[in-house]
Amino acid sequence: MLAIDSLWVRELLRFLRRPNCSLSALALPAILFLGSDSLRPASYVLVASFTLILATLAAVDDPADQFLQGVHTSPAPRISIVLAKALAGVTLAVLNGLVLGALHLL
């Protein structure tokens, strides 16, 4: 559980410290969101999809950094990596959705 928690927090920190990721996840959906009322439900779906795609790309990046090798040689169960990545992707998608929701209320 501690391993999942740690890897999940790391994923969130990585996302927040890469402004290009955060912005690109929000940019296109935000444009659609501001464009027309009829596109607003679709923009929620888009922001969730974009965030999850970026989270998946980050998982592809990790082996290049060799960070995950350090996890593989630790006693933490390997399933914790999968669960932490999935949990982080969902968390970020929900957070970005909330940002759009806040925009909607303005």
């Binding site: 060799q66 960070f67 006693p75």
Partner: protein, 230 residues
């Protein structure tokens, strides 16, 4: 009981044998270097000892624990340092160590003490809050080492610890390993292609094309060819 016991290790990669029956043992508290050129099988040997891959044939035991049959148990005993950075460049030195500690079940005061001890041992305290991406290559390698020793492993396994460093910095890192052995009694096994790093170990094994062609005390191996000046 030996800290590391490697017996009859063979590993086939595609059509050739990366390791062809390698056997050796390392006593607790020893600093052992595996010296070999590129393609000699050093990294394959490292990845088997570090529980990253299983050998085609043969056994590896760490303090009596079979790394193939019980890799998770063996992982509690080892600290690993990779040849290329396994640090997260977007996190600070302290954050990298904290995340690594969590993977070993360390929390609270025990984790804070462990991080502090690791940072002090490698003179990294002033850089604790610096992002890894902003560090010089030598400092990054020291952070890698601090990360490896954080859970106080009984056996440290390092693949080319001096990789990417100036020769003098590579030697300094190996001297850090010896100081660590002296302070904490940690057994150290490292691979290297640099003779000037290998001669600092207590014992050296020379690996060539997957075969261990010589093994012994460093002085015994260097005597026939004269003393190496660094």
């Amino acid at each position: 009981m030996n800290a590391l016991e490697v017996s009859g290790l063979r590993h086939r990669l595609g059509v050739h044998d990366a390791l062809s029956g390698v056997s050796f043992s390392v006593a607790p508290g020893d600093v052992f270097a595996v010296l070999g050129a590129k393609g000699s099988g050093k990294s394959t040997l490292f990845s088997i000892i570090a529980t990253l891959s299983a050998p085609t044939e043969g056994n590896v035991e760490i303090f009596g624990i079979d790394v193939v049959k019980k890799p998770r148990v063996a992982r509690w005993k080892i600290g690993v340092m990779f040849p290329s950075p396994s640090l997260d460049p977007l996190l600070s030195v302290y954050e990298n160590l904290r995340h690594h500690g969590y993977l070993y079940g360390l929390t609270g005061a025990a984790l804070a003490r462990g991080i502090e001890r690791s940072l002090e041992r490698l003179a990294l305290m002033p850089q604790a809050s610096v992002r890894v991406s902003a560090l010089a290559p030598g400092a990054k390698r020291r952070v890698e080492l601090a990360k490896a020793i954080l859970p106080e492993p009984q056996l440290l396994v390092l693949d080319e610890p001096g990789s990417g460093l100036e020769p003098a910095a590579g030697r300094e890192l190996v001297l850090d390993l010896k100081r660590l052995r002296d302070d904490a009694g940690t057994t150290v096994v490292f691979t290297t292609a640099a003779t000037n790093e290998a001669v600092l170990a207590d014992r050296v094994g020379i690996l060539q094309k997957g075969l261990l062609i010589a093994i012994g005390k460093t002085a015994d191996l260097t005597e026939p060819i004269g003393r190496l000046e660094s």
